[in-house]
């Protein structure tokens, strides 16, 4: 697909409405790439003028900072802020709650001030503005779905409603897990856990969360974070065939329903 970078826009002497911050998972992880492409497709169809940084994007430093490596975080933040400020970026949308949290909450203290928005909030706005129109044959209508709150979207930034409203706009039947919203159970990936073996215990956190999702007997599980998506997919994979449900990002669901 054709995606312009900030450098392309600059060469044309133009500025996009919004920068799409893809994130490392969205850029490199095969599963997450599908989410990235789904979201890019939506932006195209909704007529949003956007750009990516492309090769100029780098890790925000979130996993390094949470692991305790402040040096590494500050290095990455410095580089990214130089690039972002160089392009005079005003608005950023991202499909990763970890990038979202870092860009929105932690870069301002380091000189990076942007209007940062998570893709679920952005999608909700586009739907409300009528920029996203669904096909007449809405295949999602009446299907049951359970939404897994990402910690970095939910408790960390108190975004609970936007993802749910997006799903409701498709007239899906929303089922809540035993722990949801501010009581939502972590998928197990945060705090740089994604990049190491889990400490020893009785059960894996993602298995625990997958079991809660399975308990709702929903047709689908919705996520809004590439890491949660991986963790829940893996968690469900270890369960018997008959209870398996598919984990989809909210962007993927919308992309399949958009006109």
């Amino acid at each position: 697909m054709k995606v312009s970078t900030m450098a392309d826009f600059m060469a044309r002497g133009e500025k996009p409405e919004v920068l799409f911050w893809v994130g490392c998972a969205g850029s490199f992880d095969q599963r997450a790439q599908k989410i990235t492409k789904a979201f890019a497709t939506i932006l195209d169809k909704a007529g949003v003028q956007y750009a990516i940084l492309g090769k100029e994007e780098a890790c925000t430093g979130d996993p390094a900072r949470r692991a305790g490596n402040e040096f590494m975080f500050q290095m990455m933040a410095y580089q990214n802020i130089q690039v972002l400020n160089g392009y005079e970026i005003k608005k950023i949308v991202t499909t990763c709650p970890h990038c979202f949290n870092t860009l929105k909450n932690e870069y301002p203290a380091l000189g990076g001030n942007y209007d940062v928005i998570h893709h679920t909030t952005f999608l909700q706005e586009l739907i409300e503005q009528g920029k996203i129109k669904f096909t007449d044959s809405n295949e999602w209508k009446g299907k049951s779905i359970t939404y897994h709150d990402s910690c970095y979207l939910g408790r960390a930034n108190e975004i609970y409603e936007a993802p749910r409203k997006v799903l409701e706009s498709l007239e899906m039947e929303l089922r809540e897990m035993k722990s949801c919203k501010s009581k939502g159970l972590c998928c197990g990936a945060g705090g740089a856990q994604m990049f190491k073996e889990e400490e020893k215990g009785d059960k894996r956190i993602n298995t625990e969360r997958a079991d809660e999702a399975i308990e709702t007997k929903s047709d689908f599980v919705a996520s809004a974070c590439p890491f949660c998506n991986t963790m829940l997919t893996d968690g469900i994979k270890n369960r018997p065939e008959e209870v398996k449900t598919e984990v989809l990002d909210i962007a993927e669901i919308i992309a399949q329903a958009i006109q």
Binding site: K2, V3, T5, V22, C24, G26, S27, F28, Q33, K37, A40, I52, G54, K55, E57, A58, C59, G61, P63, A64, R66, A67, G68, N69, E70, F71, M72, Q74, M75, M76, Y78, N101, K104, N105, E106, C151, Y152, R155, A156, N157, S182, K183, C186, G188, A189, G190, G191, A192, Q193, M194, F195, K196, E197, E198, E199, K200, G201, K203, I205, R209
Partner: protein, 423 residues
């Protein structure tokens, strides 16, 4: 004789308050061993938090039944203590119910209210004791509470039951008094000669007030200190999004000077310690958090690591911090200044395995009814582990070097970052 009692009472009262405030002073000193951390913004919002979180106990209402029982104990505790004013004046002046002639029927209304509250406190404390020892709610039988913390919790409840019992007995034995709850106890004393009932009343009066003083002086050693510290802790609760970590300007500047050496000051100060190894490296708010902890365990129940059998328990992080801080305080009392005892919060109290299990999901922070952040302490200790000791699991070291060399936590070619656009 009444003269002697007055002097004795006055002396005991003075000693009780003196010892209490002296200990509070020590706790204040210990909290100030923490690093300065300025909090003086958004005063309106902070006062609102005191009203909602501390006075209104909003977080407690995540479980309404427990919240209501806790509210009985709390309201009872505060309001019945208004009666203490009369008790203390009676004790010093040798009077009997000094306010009664001035307040008339309003006095009876007050004492009736106190009695109803006292009864509710008594009932709630019995239920709480049962939850801990008979129903054995999971968060109360955790290994975090083995030994002293478990006895502490039971002691508080038993003391409260005894104090409320004495208050009601005192009123029941008073021949001139006739109040809602204590009147049910009156038949117990109806066949006794008046000299005996007067003696019972006096004994109950003395035991009640001595019990209150003892309880007051027990507070600073107990988890029950939260009845005082919940208020300042709510006031100083962070108002930033929970996902935001505290910045480290020292490291921010080092990176800045490395990138733009022309900005570096010529008289560079010696590098300070990074992160927290011991309690003195934490902020005073972290330390006040530790003294505010009620050891209720809501944090650990919500913790994804703890509930899947990992070693980490956010409650234990807070208890360890308080234990270490008390040990450091005793060290200072004994030596006039802190003499290195070869111990530290990290390693000797909190292990690496515990810290490594945290997913930074903020569930513990969200749950805490008194605005404590165990996560803040965990992250500061992790900073010390990684930056002072280079102590990280090998996968994390790999992740760090990938970020450094490939600008992503995985080893992919940076040039492929936009490869998805071509697929």
């Amino acid at each position: 004789m009444a003269y002697v009692a007055s002097i004795l009472f006055t002396a005991i009262t003075m000693i009780a308050f003196f010892v209490f405030f002296k200990k509070l002073g020590k706790i204040g000193r210990n909290i100030h061993l923490g690093k300065p951390f300025q909090i003086n913004d958004q005063k309106g919002k902070r006062l609102q938090n005191v009203l909602l979180l501390a006075l209104g106990q909003r977080k407690m209402f995540r479980n309404p039944l427990v919240a209501i029982l806790h509210l009985f104990v709390y309201v009872g505790f505060i309001i019945i203590n208004i009666e203490l004013l009369e008790i203390i004046i009676d004790g010093i002046a040798g009077t009997h119910r000094i306010f009664k002639p001035y307040l008339g029927t309003f006095y009876d209304f007050l004492i009736n209210s106190f009695e109803i509250l006292a009864f509710l406190v008594l009932v709630a404390c019995v239920v709480f004791l049962a939850r801990r020892n008979i129903v054995r709610i999971k968060r109360f039988i955790s290994k975090d509470l083995e030994g002293w913390p478990k006895s502490d919790a039971n002691a508080i409840l038993i003391i409260e039951i005894v104090l409320m019992g004495l208050f009601l007995t005192m009123n029941a034995a008073d021949a001139e008094a006739n109040y809602y709850i204590s009147s049910y106890l009156k038949p117990l004393f109806s066949n006794l000669p008046s000299s005996t009932t007067i003696a019972i009343e006096h004994t109950a009066w003395w035991l009640h007030i001595l019990g209150i003083y003892a309880f007051m002086n027990y507070l600073p050693y107990s988890k029950h200190l939260h009845i005082i510290l919940a208020f300042p802790n709510a006031y100083y609760a962070p108002l930033i999004p929970k996902g935001q970590m505290h910045n480290m300007p020292s490291i921010q500047n080092e990176v800045l000077y490395a990138m733009q050496p022309e900005l570096a000051p010529t008289n560079a100060a010696a590098p300070e310690k990074f992160g927290a190894r011991d309690v003195m490296d934490l902020s005073w708010k972290n330390l006040m958090d530790a003294y505010s902890c009620t050891e209720c365990g809501r944090c650990s129940t919500a913790c994804p690591a703890n509930s899947t059998g990992k070693l980490l328990s956010p409650r234990k992080i807070m208890m360890d911090t308080r234990d270490r801080l008390e040990a450091v305080g005793k060290n200072i009392d004994a030596n006039k200044q802190f003499i290195d005892d070869g111990k530290s919060l990290l390693h000797d109290y909190i292990s690496v395995e515990e810290l490594r299990a945290c997913t930074t999901c903020n569930a513990c922070v969200e749950e805490c009814p008194v605005s404590i952040s165990p996560l803040d302490i965990i992250l500061e200790l992790r900073r010390s582990l990684v930056m002072e000791e280079s102590n990280a699991p090998s996968e994390w070291n790999g992740m760090f070097s990938n970020i450094e060399n490939n600008f992503a936590p995985w080893k992919f070619a940076p040039d492929d970052r936009d490869a998805w656009t071509a697929q």
